[in-house]
Symmetry: C2
Subunit: 390 residues, 2 copies
């Protein structure tokens, strides 16, 4: 890659770190050069000296900075965690199960950045189509942070009825507006007012609660979301002066395990322990009866074992397991661009089907993509063939 | 520790490695000095250049070598693993759930070595009492390898009816006799003949099978052992010319998880993934029906969740969780010596009760020892007090 030379002193100044630290970040490969079409950037691959992972510096004249979206910590117990964490009131929002996107406008161009800091061509095109982004002309230093959800997405394909568009299940909800160079969040009511003014979709508060009794209400909200097979909640300070925290449903814990154990040698280890511990504390805090506990254990066991056994059976029948998702594109060029992008992201993908479809918005291209998990396929074959476990 | 000087050239020669490698092992802290009373040894902490972890060199004039007991690999599937691994016949022995011990006689003294290579004072005294070890006078280069089992043991306290001695549940079964300096095993029939001649307890073969059809019989053996809540099998070549391999029951997988999840922040992560994967392949190979699979998943879920929730509940009630075991000693000196040994082994233990008991063999001392798992206690308290999960 042939990146233009750039002024390290000025970048250090913009990031408010020393030149020495900046050089250290380069040397340790925490800060790396990247390129998307003719847009050159630097990306932080890890948290470093107060700079969030996913922070991007656009290598233009301005050296525009887009800070990474901070990690949202998790409450393991609702009580006393909420009471201890918040100042006074707690705003409860639904947590959506999609992928985190920051939308920015840099030198007149809109970009949708993934959590890791990459410009995603698929998402960039979708948000430009779905949203009127004139807000970014007026407030160029803002970034619109939100969740892209729906079955027809390449990262977390999960169906949501509210984003059904006929030929495509996909939509975007803003849950935070931040100054992109400082990561300061707008107070929630300001964010909502702006979204209303610019007609932008946003995550609506489910409740505004006193922190001392919030856990009681949130327990009921969680039970309701669980019945409706939804992911969970994010709890926020109205002024956004303490960081948000999250809490997820039993349904989500099991769903995470089910997805992970379909590709268990690739994803199983990392998911397993955290999910079962969440269930342990939830069972305690939600005061499971004997029967509730038994049911929770059954769900947990099935979420782990059933997809694993299905995968072993499939592979023993000569199949290969892949995670399949369908995406809708406007043109073949868009398809090619996105496939190129995914491969650059080191994803192993195959195109399983590609066809033209007629829609109320003209002819579109529907592509069925399979994400390959080699480790699961290879290891299962190997154990089925008699390899010993060390 | 003031270890005598010793001849590195001679040690290297005895181990059949180069002096350079020996020095490397010291430098990397793979080979370390140890002391038990006035017995000075070197212990291999890891596998190194063909020398097994747990290998001990006694720093006497002879530089007696006792090789570590090799890791026994695991079959994930019975078929085709057995067929591929073995030469012709397969001897099936029951795998006992205790701790692996090597009994040796060095300069006229009997020692029981743990898997890690430590002289265990508790076990040394018990084997000297339980067994007539005159075999080691005639065959001084042999080591008796076996499993110490029973409820009254400090490492894997698990009840076995066959070792019930009235006031103590403890016993030793030889499953291998090896040359201690070469690690060569005796053929199984020679081992059994010797055990019979010297009246030593040994693990009896459950079956001798043709390798091509062994999996069919072993499936039935495993089903039977599972019903009887036993651990599993070790499969061996009659001549011991290929290494033994092991396979365990569904009951054992669940029991492992139950023990580990009582102390889940200490032991959970390491145990979890391997056990669920074993269950996945077993479900596939044993051709679980829908109903079998559901039952297996329930067992698995309960083995993980129930002990975890019990631990959280206990700790929330102000208790501390510990793994308790009762040991029987001949004298207070023996108690002190063993407590000192356990603390030297970095085990966090408390004496919960100590009392004299009358037995048909005179007055004994019964000690209730609790092994403390600090990480579980501390982390559960911390999450119950509102700490966030990163």
């Amino acid at each position: 890659m042939n990146v233009l030379s750039y002024d390290l002193n000025k970048i250090a100044e913009k990031l408010n770190i020393s030149l020495k630290d900046l050089n250290k970040a380069f040397k340790k490969r925490i800060l790396r050069e990247n390129e998307y079409k003719d847009v050159k950037t630097l990306i932080f691959k890890k948290d470093f000296r107060g700079i969030e992972k996913g922070t991007v510096i656009f290598l233009n004249k301005n050296l525009d900075v887009v800070r990474g979206y901070p990690k949202t910590y998790r409450a393991i117990t609702l009580y006393p965690t909420i009471k201890k964490h918040f100042v006074d009131k707690v705003v409860v929002e639904e947590k959506l199960n999609g992928y985190n996107i920051r939308i920015v406008k840099i030198e007149g161009e809109v970009y949708a950045l993934t959590r890791g800091g990459h410009i995603c061509p698929f998402t960039t095109k979708k948000v430009k189509k779905f949203l009127d982004l004139s807000i970014l002309d007026e407030f160029n230093n803002y970034m619109l942070c939100g969740e892209m959800i729906g079955k027809n997405n390449p990262y977390t394909p999960y169906y949501y009825e509210e984003v059904e568009r006929g030929y495509e299940n996909l939509g975007f909800y803003i849950f935070d507006i931040k100054e992109r160079d400082s990561n300061r969040s707008l107070p929630i009511n300001e964010r909502i007012a702006l979204c209303k003014k610019y007609n932008l979709p946003y995550v609506k508060p489910l409740a505004i609660l006193d922190k001392d009794t919030a856990h009681l209400h949130i327990k009921e909200i969680i039970n309701d979301l669980n019945r409706r097979k939804r992911e969970g909640v994010v709890m926020k300070d109205p002024e956004m002066i303490v960081p948000p925290i999250k809490y997820t449903t039993h349904y989500t814990q099991c769903e995470d395990l089910r997805s992970a154990f379909t590709f268990f040698f690739d994803l199983g280890v990392d998911f397993l322990f955290s999910r079962v511990v969440r269930e342990g504390f939830m069972s305690y805090e939600f005061k499971d009866s004997e029967e509730d506990l038994k049911k929770r254990a059954e769900d947990l066991g099935e979420a782990i074992l059933v997809p694993m056994v299905e995968t072993i059976r499939k592979i023993s029948n000569g199949e290969r397991v892949s995670e399949d998702f369908e995406l809708i594109f406007d043109s073949e060029d868009d398809v090619d661009e996105f496939i190129y992008f995914m491969r650059k992201m080191k994803m192993l993908i195959v195109i399983k089907d590609i066809k033209k479809i007629d829609t109320n918005e003209g002819v579109k291209i529907k592509v069925l993509i399979g994400k390959i998990y080699n480790k699961t396929n290879d290891k299962v074959i190997s154990y089925l063939n008699g390899t010993l476990w060390e």
